[in-house]
Symmetry: C2
Subunit: 228 residues, 2 copies
Amino acid sequence: MKVAVLGTGTVGRAIAARLAGLDHDVVIGTRDAEATLARSVSDAMGNPPFAQWHAEHEQVGLVDFADAGTHGEIVINATSGAGSVAALEAVGAGNLAGKVVVDVANPLDFSHGMPPRLFVADTDSLAEQIQRALPEARVVKTLNTMNAHVMVDPSRVPGAHTVFVCGDDEDAKATVKELLAEFGWSGEAILDLGGLRAARGTEMYLPLWLSLWGALGTGDFNIKVVRA
Amino acid sequence: MKVAVLGTGTVGRAIAARLAGLDHDVVIGTRDAEATLARSVSDAMGNPPFAQWHAEHEQVGLVDFADAGTHGEIVINATSGAGSVAALEAVGAGNLAGKVVVDVANPLDFSHGMPPRLFVADTDSLAEQIQRALPEARVVKTLNTMNAHVMVDPSRVPGAHTVFVCGDDEDAKATVKELLAEFGWSGEAILDLGGLRAARGTEMYLPLWLSLWGALGTGDFNIKVVRA
């Protein structure tokens, strides 16, 4: 499948590499591909320069946002939350009309230092903001409740654990669940929370995730929903 | 141990009954004990009149907040979040000085209908509000991430699953962990998140909990933190 991953950070790289390894035809979209490749220093999050990663993943193309929109039959938003709506608008409403947009970002606000706050919560979510900005896209929220390595390889964490899916389009959710299965998520692990509004809850889980990261001393963890 | 449970709703009743069953000397504290006992209709949450519950749990005394503060060596806040600070102030700062105050409430705001919103989040928490209002109390947040039945009987949900504990006083947390163990929480299940600030995360989990409740069709569930 032709997939466009938006964002050149840890999450975008992990998802693009995994999809390419699964023989999908993958591009990463960014604001200015030329500038991204020219950068020779690590980014603000400590990731090595993109060109270094790209040299090891040559099968993944790097293109500007609009070209990513042309390429992708599915578009995965792995940009920083604060830039997500602008990134998707740069991909283009026309390019995204009718397409599945998988939102794995979180509405993190680092402007007040660490830990980050959320710039939207409780009465709205980043996923809903994206859906409103692109009403013809079929937005599905998933994978935002764990680190990038666990997203694409759930076997890093032992046993069954949970990935949440929500969105207003049932067919789009079914497509995303197939993609999750390719990543290694079992049917038991995938928990459908219903409509996109449930993204409020999965995004608001982030402060607890950050506390757990601190308490456990590793990002390689997840939660499992256990019911009676 | 002499324990005061604040609040006559589902959570207060469940915790008081469980503690009494464990042979603790338990009272429930409320604003006006006489008025509570005189009520003959179900409350807003559909709980049967308190007097009916009380007839089946005669070993649990019902007293006004201030008397609860005199009785309890440990005080458990199971009032509605919106009324928690006022309730604890009515118990009395003097009565609570040096005591362990276990906060199991959530900052739910039902004034806009269902699902409830949070009246504090992200930059503050109900637990921290309580700690600021009663600086000499030793506030520990726990048990607020599950329903009342699972709180006091984790075996309702199969296998190991997680209860979070946070607070700024290590001795107070140790006391609370002993109480959790009496309820049936194993050492593996109890996850210490550090200082009281982590209550922000456990309180902000509530919207996800509500989504899960809807998706699973039962409140008898919990999350288990699984790490690599």
